[in-house]
Structure formats: C-alpha cells, structure tokens
C-alpha cells in the first residue's frame, strides 16, 4: 500500500495559488484595505485618547503610542486569522476551489502553502497600513521601524499557519468563534497589546511567554520606539517555530480531511 510521505510535497505551483487569491483581492483592494484599517484605528483612537487621557505615561511613552505598536501586532494577527479561517474555509469547503486546483498538477500541500503565504502577505499589508498611519501621526520615530516589516511578515506567517490548523478541522463557520473566543481574545489580552505584561499576576506573565503574540509584541514594539528588542533571536525563533510546526500540522490534518 502506498504511504504518503510526512514531508511536505511543495513546488513553485504554490505561487499560482497565491496569485489566484491576489487577483480576487485586487478587485476589491481599496475597500479591503480600508476595512482592515477602520476597526483597529477606531480602537486605537478611542482607547488611546479616551483611556490614555486618564493614564500617566506607559512604558515611558504616551499610552496611545504604546497602544499603537500593540495594534500593529494584533491587527496582523487578526488579518492572518480571518483570512485563513473564514476566507480559507470558503475556498476549501464552500466553493471547492481547492478541489478544482488539485485536479491540475498542484499538490494539496502547494495549495495550503499558497494559502499560508497569501494570508501572511495580506496580514503584512494590514500591519503595515497601520504602521504607515501611526508614522504619519508621529508615533514612530526611528528608522529601526523598518525592521518591523519582516517581523510583521513573520507574525503573519505564524498566525496564518495556526489558522490553517483550525480550518483543517472546522465543520462549519460557527467553529471559528471558539478559536477567537478561547484563543485569540485571551491571547490579545495577555500579550501586552493593551497594557504591559508585567501588570499581570505572575502566573499570567508566565503564560504570556508561551503566546506567539507576546513574542511578536516584544519584537515589534521596541523597533517602533527606536530600541533594539531584548533577545530578538528568541522572539524570531518562537514565531518561526510556531509558523513551521503549525504549517506542518495543518498539512497533515488537511490531507486527512481532503485526501482520504
């Protein structure tokens, strides 16, 4: 009996899948970018000025500046998650787009890789759009912020890969609510997006260190403040490790779902 290798079976055809998604996105690019910007900016201004007015400086900067850096990370995470969950599920399960692609000389692994890279790219655009806005508002001062670009992409990859795992096992759209409620939302609160992690009780601080978003925040926020992050290689390694491992798990689960 033929046994499929556990190794990913990847080729450059993954880029054709990426280009398919890009062509769809291009048709609605402007509303899509504005839509991705609106929600985080409302929170940023609402909380940043409203709540920030009550607060002294946080981590040595005005609260809105502190929050702006966290918002870049959280938006990147959200964009990657939404793309792989809702849009990915549509393409996989509802529209059967993946099935159509797999009748061509493209492996399922290529399809999933194309989706991963696409979601990471879209998430990067979302994070960078906010970065651009907060730079224009004068919340970013240093050229070090350019290093945030690859860090944002890496964050997008990690959360896209995690999202693909959830999509691989989802019976319907309703299932995604669990992922957001039980994973994404608590992680956002624990990872230092809205307030410094050291405000949390000790056990939660330890838990935060296990969260990929916390590493993204610890990597990206200092860069926007013009500082070199502490232990940057650790954060990069955690995000890259999450991305690689989650992608592999997503592949195995998606193969089980579609190729059995």
């Amino acid at each position: 009996m033929y046994q499929r290798s556990l190794r990913p079976e990847l080729s450059l055809r993954a880029l054709a899948v990426w280009r398919r998604n890009y062509l769809v996105w291009k048709k609605l690019a402007i509303p899509s970018v504005l839509g991705n910007l609106a929600d985080p900016m409302i929170y940023l201004f609402g909380l940043g000025y409203g709540l920030g007015g009550l607060l002294p400086q946080v981590a040595g900067v005005p609260y809105i500046v502190f929050l702006a850096a966290g918002t870049v990370c959280a938006s990147t995470m959200n964009a990657a998650s939404f793309e792989t969950l809702y849009s990915g599920f549509s393409r996989m399960h509802v529209q059967k787009t993946w099935e159509a692609i797999m009748n061509a000389p493209v492996s399922l692994d290529d399809v999933v890789a194309g989706e991963l890279l696409w979601a990471a790219a879209k998430a990067t655009l979302s994070g960078v759009a906010i970065l651009v806005v907060i730079s224009l508002l004068g919340f970013v001062h240093s050229a070090l912020a350019l290093w945030a670009l690859p860090a944002i992409f890496l964050t997008g990859l990690a959360f896209a890969a995690l999202g693909l795992i959830v999509t691989a096992v989802a019976p319907s759209y309703d299932f995604f609510m669990y992922y957001f409620t039980l994973f994404i939302t608590p992680m956002t609160l624990l990872s230092g997006v809205f307030f410094p992690v050291d405000e949390l009780p000790a056990p939660f601080q330890a838990a935060a260190q296990a969260m990929p978003l916390a590493h993204a925040v610890q990597l990206i926020r200092p860069l926007l403040f013009g500082q070199v992050p502490d232990a940057p290689l650790l954060h990069v390694a955690v995000l890259a490790g999450v991305a690689a491992l989650a992608f592999w798990i997503a592949l195995i689960l998606t193969r089980r779902r579609l190729l059995s």
Binding site: A16, R20, A104
Partner: protein, 303 residues
C-alpha cells in the same frame, strides 16, 4: 501508450470496501464510460486514478505514469470536469481560464492566446468578461469543460458531465464531447444516464457495489446480457396480469409500480394476447442499455 490502465483497484472507507477489485484499460482515442447507480464507487475510482486518494491495493498507470507516486506529473496531461461545478465565482469567464492555466505552469501569454478558442468551443464567445455568477447551469458546465481543456490534455475525465442539465444543454455537451473525440482526445466519463452512455461511449463498464459487473460496447452488452425485445405493459391491472399470465409469453417479466416489463425474444405472441385486453396498454421496443443496467443492478432505489 495507454491513457489509463487500472488493475485490481481497492479502496475502503470505514471498513466498507467501496472499490473492490476494479480493472479496466482505456485505449487512445476512445470514450470509455463507467456506469453505475449512486454509491457504486465511480467517483472514488476516479479520485484514485487522479492520485487524489491512495488506494488500499492495486495499480494505476495514468498517461504512462504510476499513480499516486507520479500523480502530479500525470495530471499535467489530464483535463478534469468534476461532478459539481467549482468555477471561481469571483472571476469572469476569461479569468477562470487564465487562473486555471497557471496551475499547469503555463505562461499568461500562452493561456491568453488559447482563451478565445476555448470560449468559442464552450459557446461563450463574447462572454469573456462576464461574471460566472450570472451564467446558466449549462453555460457553467461548458465553461468547466473549456477549463479542463486549457492544458490541451490527452485524456479528459468527466464525472457525471450532464447531471442537472436540461435536454438542450445536455445535447450541446454531447456534441462538444464528440468533436473532442473526433480531434483524437480520449475520454473517461461516469454517468448514470444510459442514453448518454449509449450515445457517447465506445466501451463501458457497469459498476455496482465497488465491482465491475459487465464490460463491453453498448451493443455487445445489449446483445450479450438481455433478450432483444421488451414489451412494457401499463395499467392498474398490469401487476395482476403479469403474475397470472405473463409467464406464458416471457421468461423474465419484472413489475415496477403499475408497469410490467416483459423481456422476450419474439414479441408477436405476447402482442397478439395483449391486443385482446384493451384495459392494458402496451409499448413494444427493442431492449436498451437501461434494460441491461436494471437487470444487472436491480430496480430498488440506491440512496
């Protein structure tokens, strides 16, 4: 090189063997049909042939390559029309073809050069920029067929190509498939429409419960499997009549609802008998592939 050779293919789901030792081989340039009721294992057989699922046992050679080991390379020479349309709803007709061609590694220039001919073939000339959301079912099917031709394949695999289409749309698909055969393409199709199989297929295999139970040309199957004449007897009294009298005229008479199907070598004595019974209506016709199919797979529903 044979387009497709399948030997002793087996595949189980949850302990049930849905493909239980299927063997067949296609010759270049022919149309080969897999017929069978729902759940016979047709679609699973196709999925195995395309390398989309690994069989439990058996061997497959698709355009000369072992599958699933070299399925990806083999699929480069294949066009597939799936059972359910999976065109990209976000794209126009032309974009659907362009994007699909890229999955074969074709350059945009090559694909764009092919698009007008493909659209014309599909009867969609002038609809290049039309969104597929507003196409009729028949148009979508034809576009799916055109999409399957974007790589100029040697072998076309169609899973129930005309299910859900109206008669006009079905005839147009058949006509297109015939023109592809005339161009030298090889076709493998599954169907449960006997008229489709009789019209298109040079050879066919009837599948039931994961096995091929008969194989041959439509004519051979009709000649070899069944009596040449059928007399259908209708009316409220038909079942009672069939029980009491049909046996005198016909060795095999099947009742379904208010119709008795009497299979005979010579219909004249039965027709003379029926002429004296005006309460029964009769239709005399030659045996068809459908009669063979029903004889081999039974009349009970398959859901």
């Amino acid at each position: 090189m044979a387009p497709l050779t399948v030997s002793d293919l087996r595949k189980s789901y949850g302990g049930r063997e849905v493909v239980a030792g299927v063997s067949f081989a296609l010759q270049a340039g022919e149309c080969f049909g897999l017929l069978g009721p729902n759940g016979a294992g047709k679609t699973t057989t196709l999925r195995c042939c395309l390398g989309l699922t690994a069989p439990a046992a058996g061997s497959i050679a698709l355009v000369g390559r072992p599958v699933p080991q070299e399925a990806r390379a083999a699929r480069a020479r294949i066009g597939v029309v799936p059972q359910f349309d999976n065109l990209d709803p976000d794209f126009s007709c032309a974009e659907n073809l362009l994007v699909y061609g890229r999955y074969f590694g074709l350059h945009d220039k090559v694909i764009r050069a092919r698009i007008p001919r493909l659209l014309e073939f599909a009867g969609l000339a002038g609809k290049a920029d039309t969104s597929i959301r507003i196409l009729s079912g028949g148009m979508k099917r034809r576009l799916t067929l055109a999409r399957a031709l974007v790589n100029d394949p040697d072998l076309l695999i169609l899973d129930e190509p005309t299910t859900g289409l109206d008669p006009q749309a079905r005839h147009l698909i058949w006509e297109r498939l015939k023109s592809l055969l005339a161009d030298g393409k090889t076709i493998l199709l599954t169907t449960h429409f006997m008229d489709e199989a009789e019209r298109l297929c040079h050879r066919l295999a009837i599948m039931d419960e994961g096995r091929i139970i008969a194989q041959g040309s439509p004519r051979e199957l009709i000649a070899g499997q069944i009596e040449p004449q059928v007399v259908e007897v209708y009316g409220e009294d038909a079942p009672g009549w069939a029980q009491a009298e049909a046996g005198r005229f016909s060795k095999r008479c099947e009742v379904s609802g208010e119709t008795a199907f009497c299979y005979v070598a010579d219909a004249a004595p039965l027709l003379a008998h029926l002429a004296e019974r005006p309460q029964l209506r009769a239709l005399h016709r030659p045996a068809s592939l459908e009669d063979v199919f029903l004889k081999l797979t039974g009349r009970e529903l398959r859901d």
